[in-house]
């Protein structure tokens, strides 16, 4: 239903473009003929009009339609006898054929370009999806191994374990289950994204409440990390999908905890920014390497902790694809998802490094 509507809308728009171009060029030609009295340029103008129509519409129909109209128009208004049809002039027939050729060739080319572009986009999406799946299936295996192994160890040789050991294993199970839960949350957001668009459930949300929920979830996972808050005094509310925005903030906070080396303080600042609301999350960790910063929101990035460098999980060509284990890649999928969520809210997302240290993530909704 929605698709049909969209198709109808596109069709209408293309017809509009066609008519507009034709009227515009007809007008120009009239001016040229009546006021400036330049005759020979007119067929050329119409050729240009036909070219433009074919370029900016899909299929052959509108192009052919425009070229026939143009031929008729030239015949009717711009060749002697003026403002009367005369089909006996061979010049007219010739110009009609030329216009038709231009139309058909341009339309073919346009269609081919469009098809090519679409194919390229499809391949790109497919590649991202495949890589994501590969990365995810690997990432899920590691906590699963730990849960499986720890629980069976607990069950099968409980006698040989000290209480401390048992607790350690149980904590491991809990930690990895939490990690998996988080991962599933992120994955769900990814599946909601389709071609850069997201199905949002927009609700009027109080900013204070939103931040509260985030902090509560965060505290549950990282008890020791303090977060300072700066909220405006006035009551603020925004129209967003609260669950997704919560996830954005949570992802940024988590990145700070996991990847910002030497980070001690995190600060969340919310303020009114014109008629919008700005959220800023600042940490005082090691910052983000420049090359990563540039493509942070565009690609899925994986980080290798000990080498101190990040690497993409896919290279430009297949040879560059490296095995994707080693470290879990929360960061990449997280930021990619965050950027998509903010974009879907028509918001703006910024990330920059601060001097002397730390980095700031800011989004405006």
């Amino acid at each position: 239903m929605k698709k049909k509507l969209e198709k109808g809308w596109n069709m209408g728009r293309e017809i509009g473009i066609t008519i507009l171009i034709l009227i515009l060029f007809f007008g120009i030609c009239l001016v040229f003929q009546q006021i400036l009295n330049i005759q020979p340029l007119i067929p050329m103008f119409f050729t240009l009009a036909v070219f433009l129509v074919s370029r900016f519409t899909t299929g052959y129909f509108l192009g052919v339609f425009a070229s026939s109209i143009s031929v008729l128009a030239v015949n009717y208004a711009f060749t002697f006898p003026h403002f009367r049809f005369n089909f006996t002039i061979s010049e007219n027939l010739l110009s009609a054929i030329i216009m038709l050729i231009v139309t058909i060739m341009t339309s073919t080319m346009t269609t081919q370009i469009k098809r090519h572009e679409q194919k390229k986009r499809e391949i790109e999406t497919e590649r991202i999806r495949a890589n994501l799946l590969r990365a995810v299936s690997h990432d899920i295996r590691t906590p699963l191994t730990s849960i499986y192994g720890s629980s069976s160890t607990l069950l099968e040789c409980a006698d040989a374990l000290t209480d401390q050991k048992k607790e350690q294993l149980l904590m491991g199970i809990r930690e990895d289950s939490e990690w998996l839960t988080n991962m599933v949350g992120n994955l769900l957001s990814v599946t909601k994204i389709e071609g850069g668009r997201l199905n949002l459930q927009i609700v009027e949300t109080s900013v204070e409440e939103l931040i509260d929920v985030v902090l509560e979830k965060f505290k549950r996972r990282y008890q020791d990390q303090e977060i300072s808050l700066s909220l405006p005094d006035a009551f603020l509310s925004i129209k967003v999908d609260p669950i997704l925005i919560e996830q954005v903030i949570l992802n940024i906070l988590e990145n700070a905890v996991q990847h910002a080396v030497g980070m001690q303080a995190i600060c969340i600042t919310v303020c009114k920014f014109g008629d919008k609301v700005s959220f800023e999350i600042v940490d005082d960790g090691c910052g983000i390497p420049d090359d990563i910063l540039k493509r942070l929101f565009k690609e899925i990035i994986e980080k290798k902790v000990s080498v101190g460098g990040y690497r993409k999980i896919y290279g430009q060509d297949e040879k560059n694809v490296r095995p994707i284990d080693g470290n879990r890649f929360n960061m990449g999928i997280g930021m990619y998802v965050c950027a998509a969520i903010i974009e879907a809210h028509h918001g703006e997302f910024f990330a920059k490094n601060l001097s002397p240290k730390g980095c700031s993530f800011r989004f405006v909704l």
Binding site: T142, T145, G149, C157, L169, G172, P323
Partner: protein, 169 residues
């Protein structure tokens, strides 16, 4: 007290280390662990383990590199643990010299069985096919499985592996 087999575990996921360590120790193996290639190779030099359990995805290098370095120097048995389940991954690791390959997630019983199997094979290679679990020569008795040496039925304490012992006596 039997002279335990010493197993070096090279793995960076602490939760996985914890349960494998607990399980191995419950089964009478001495376990040490390292969380990366650099530490792993260092532990290898200083502790002379009898077996290495190696995760391929290490933070500072690829596990394959570890296999290559170890194989340049010794025939120390290596069991690879990896989340990479592709056939080519297995082929590559085994061809580089790994003795066995286990994909994550795995059962601990399976891991233990594979460790036993690797040790069995290792003993076969070192002491020939006809060797039984025990070697008896006059009053000297060597039990390879429990790594105990007896002289006139009295246990002889030794610090090194039996292979070393057998060379010296």
């Amino acid at each position: 007290m039997a002279n335990k087999y010493k197993i070096l575990l090279i793995e960076d996921e602490i939760n996985i280390v914890n349960f494998i360590k607990a399980r191995l120790e419950a089964n009478g193996y001495q376990t040490i662990y390292a969380n990366g290639m650099r530490d792993g190779l260092m532990m290898l030099m200083s502790h002379c383990p009898d077996l290495v359990i190696l995760d391929l995805g290490l933070p500072d290098a690829d596990g394959m590199e570890v296999i290559r370095v170890v194989r340049k120097q010794s025939l120390l048995p290596i069991i690879v643990l990896s989340a990479r389940g592709g056939e080519m991954d297995k082929v590559m690791a085994l061809d580089e010299g790994a003795n066995d390959y286990i994909t994550k997630p795995f059962g601990t019983e399976e891991l233990l069985a594979r460790i036993r199997s690797v040790f069995r094979n290792q003993n076969l290679i070192q002491y020939g096919e006809n060797r039984s679990e025990q070697y008896v020569l006059g009053g000297l008795q060597i039990d390879f499985a429990s790594r105990q040496v007896f002289k006139e039925k009295k246990e002889v304490h030794h610090t090194h592996g039996v292979q070393h012992f057998s060379l010296t006596c």
